[in-house]
């Protein structure tokens, strides 16, 4: 039951992400990419700070106590924004989309399989491989649909 709930949460997360992408795309076109990325991160920081003030219970471990590499998550997310801006213009949205998802999946399967970064290890099984095959097919369709769109545009 928690499993289904968690998957639904992940799907909601993805949905908000694509709404955000649509809005930021337009904002970026008006004011520039770095400015729109800065707005996203600074408003995000403000809102989480507000949420922390009012809702977060006390923890014995704080951000200052954890190993420093655990604070580097943003260093892995911000390059993505810059890379996409540079790459989409040169290799096209379709190829860029598929390449990003390919990178995400291969890396996440590695992280799960070896339990890297302090995550619990989930080994690569037959059903996980079938899931990958389904995704490969899905990616092919996303690719060909964006390709025909690019032609139309």
């Amino acid at each position: 039951m928690t499993l289904i709930f968690m998957v639904i949460l992940a799907i909601i997360g993805g949905a908000t992400l694509s709404v955000q992408a649509a809005l930021n795309g337009r904002l970026g076109g008006n004011v520039g990419v770095f400015k729109s990325a800065f707005l996203t991160f600074s408003v995000g920081a403000l809102i989480t700070a507000l949420l922390i003030f009012f809702f977060e219970p006390n923890h014995t471990v704080t951000l200052m106590d954890v190993p420093k590499w655990q604070l580097l998550g943003a260093l892995c997310g911000v390059p993505y924004i810059v890379i996409m801006v540079v790459a989409v213009q040169r290799i096209g949205t379709a190829v860029a989309t598929v390449a990003v998802i390919f990178g995400q999946l291969s890396m996440s399967i590695l992280i799960d399989n070896f339990g890297w970064l302090g995550n619990e290890a989930i080994s690569l099984s037959g059903t996980r491989i079938s899931a990958l095959m389904c995704l490969a097919i899905a990616l092919y369709f996303i690719y060909s649909s964006s390709k025909s769109e690019a032609k139309a545009a």
Binding site: F41, V78, S108
Partner: protein
């Protein structure tokens, strides 16, 4: 050159998974919201520097933009909090596939109705088939 760029984009995608992989365990140690703040705090500092040095000099002010365009920043934390809560329970790979399912279905809706000022584009069959296979993948992941 082209191949090189594709490789760089793949690395970018890998970065996203690493971000999720770092966030999950961090969130269980210091709390989800603090973990989220670490992302947005560091991210805001970095992008501020990028903006300061590389933004076009005379770009229009945020205050001249319609407010609707600015709520992207409010949606970001939802995504990061979800990553932090979900990855410890279902693993990084399944989280990424769930996110992907949400993205594809929502972008179908956005395109179909031309929401948020994007150009209206009718749902095409290929994306529906893609969504179907992504859901099948989620199903396999849940079983494995």
């Amino acid at each position: 050159m082209q191949i090189l760029l594709v490789l760089v984009v793949i690395l970018g995608g890998m970065g996203l998974s690493v971000e999720a992989g770092i966030l999950g365990p961090l969130g269980s140690q210091v709390g989800e919201l603090w973990a989220t703040l670490s992302i947005f705090g560091v991210g805001a500092a970095l992008t501020f520097l990028l903006m300061l040095f590389f933004s076009p000099r005379e770009s229009p002010s945020f205050f001249s933009q319609p407010p609707l365009l600015l709520i992207g920043g409010i949606l970001g934390p939802i995504y990061v909090v979800v990553l932090t809560v979900v990855t410890p329970v279902i693993g990084v790979a399944m989280t990424m596939i769930g996110i992907l399912a949400g993205q594809v279905s929502k972008s179908l809706l956005i395109d179909h109705y031309g929401l948020f000022g994007t150009t209206e584009r009718k749902i095409d069959n290929k994306r529906i088939i893609a969504l179907f296979f992504i859901i099948a993948a989620l199903f396999f992941m849940a079983k494995g």
